[in-house]
Every structure is written in structure tokens, then in C-alpha cells.
Amino acid sequence: MDSTTSPQQENDAGGLQVHCFTDVVDELTLHFQIIRLPKQIYAWIGCNSSKMGHLYAAAHTRPSEGVSVSCVLGGSSDNPGAGIARRIVLKSGLNVILASNIPKNSPMIEANAERKMMEKLVQLGYTRPRSEPSSFMINPTAGEIHR
């Protein structure tokens, strides 16, 4: 697996930390943008383009240990972005808004992108214990995120 990472750019002059970086994996260019809000993470994954793609919101649903994902703009539950958002929440304990243009039926791209995103989140120290409360309004019985 060939992987090169371009120098990341960080700009926290505005109070919100914005991290942008690009990685090339298997001749495929993946762009990543992570914006850290005090109680939430916004992330974008671009696959060979700078299109925003579909938008998903994911968070833990209390009181259960499950994670709910909502397609906010475009997309569906079987799009890669939905799965990545869900697993980022599971692994990191963060509330996540994720935008992604990774095409459907691309499991290797999806896996590589998710792995790089998680590596970066851990490197930045953004992951947190799941015992901390989430900031979303959750309907515990329906398991849905209130829009």
C-alpha cells in the first residue's frame, strides 16, 4: 500500500481548530478536513475531488450504548459516509457531523479513509471516553436523532 501525506494545514486563528490534510493511498487521493467544535466534530472526506458530497449526523443514543446515524443531506444508510460516521462515534465517543463523497461499493476506499480519519483524531487528542454525555437531543425509544 502506497501512502504519502502532504503537509497538513492548521488554522485556529478563529477559535475553531481546522485541520486539513491529504493522503494518497493506492493511487487514490483522499482529502480530509476536521473542524473541532467544543462539543462536536465536523469532518469531511473527499475522494479524488473537492465535492462536499452527502452529509450525516451521528451520535450515541442514550440510555443504550448504540449509535444512531441520520442522513442530513443526500445519501442513504448504505452510503459509505453513514457507516464511517457511525464507527467514528463508536470508536471515539465524539458527536460527529460527517460529509463524504466516497462512492458506494468501495469498501477499500471506505476502510482506508476511516482508518486515516481515526488516526488523525487520536493524534489530535480529540477522542474521549464514552462516559461523557453527548450534546444531541436523542429520542431513546425510537433510536433516532431529532432533526
Binding site: A13, L16, L37, K39, G46, K51, M52
Partner: protein
């Protein structure tokens, strides 16, 4: 004045302003197919709206604004998105807008402050 990051394929601008005594963090990102504006005072993205220009039969452009996540009963938020998409359209940008507003209050003064700060730091 915030700086524009252009080496990355998605230029963005990140800055902070004070609106009615509340620190407001703003990030504007220019994707190929959307403009994303995040303005937050509460630490989360809050309510998200989509605004886009619609191609019509008349010479006057029409716009469609809708809440895609969060509060659907706050007309000032919709008005804020509409103002921004109208400005974007009049300046020649055809990209739809995704606007995220996490605000402590939805007064006209606050929303006007958000609109003016975004327009002063626009990237389209």
C-alpha cells in the same frame, strides 16, 4: 482579518467575531459543489439549513431554503440563509449553501451580525 487556506483543494476561512456580546466562531469552506458556513456560539453546529437557487422561467431568480437538521420553527434562521444565498447569487456564485447556526439567540441583530461577518469574509 482571517487568512484563506488555498493549498488544500477546499479553501476555507476561519475567524471569530463578537455579536451582541457573544463570541461567535465562524468557518466558511468552499467545496466544489457547496459552500459550507458554520457559525456557532454554543459549541455545536446547531441547526443546519440548505439554500439553493432555483432555475425558473422568470428573469428574477428564486431560492429554496429549508431546514435539514434542528429547529424548524425559527423563521429568522431561514431568513438568514435566504439573505446569504441571495448575496451569493448576486455575486455570481451558483453553488448551494449549507448553513449551520448554533446561536444563543435568534434575534434580528444577531442574525444580521452573522450575515455581515460572513459577507465580509466570503470566499466565493
Amino acid at each position: 482579518m482571517a487568512s484563506i487556506e488555498q493549498h488544500f483543494p477546499v479553501p476555507h476561512r476561519s475567524f471569530s467575531v463578537e455579536i451582541k456580546g457573544n463570541k461567535t466562531d465562524v468557518v466558511i469552506s468552499g467545496y466544489n459543489d457547496h459552500i459550507l458556513v458554520i457559525a456557532t456560539q454554543i459549541g455545536t453546529m446547531g441547526t443546519m439549513l440548505q439554500a439553493r437557487k432555483e432555475e425558473g422561467m422568470t428573469s428574477e431568480p428564486t431560492f429554496h431554503v429549508s431546514v435539514i437538521f434542528g429547529k424548524r420553527d425559527e423563521p429568522m434562521l431561514t431568513a438568514c440563509a435566504r439573505q446569504l444565498i441571495e448575496h451569493m447569487s448576486s455575486s455570481g456564485s451558483a453553488r448551494p449553501l449549507v448553513l449551520s447556526l448554533g446561536l444563543k439567540d435568534h434575534s434580528m441583530e444577531t442574525l444580521k451580525g452573522v450575515v455581515s461577518s460572513v459577507l465580509e469574509n466570503r470566499i466565493w
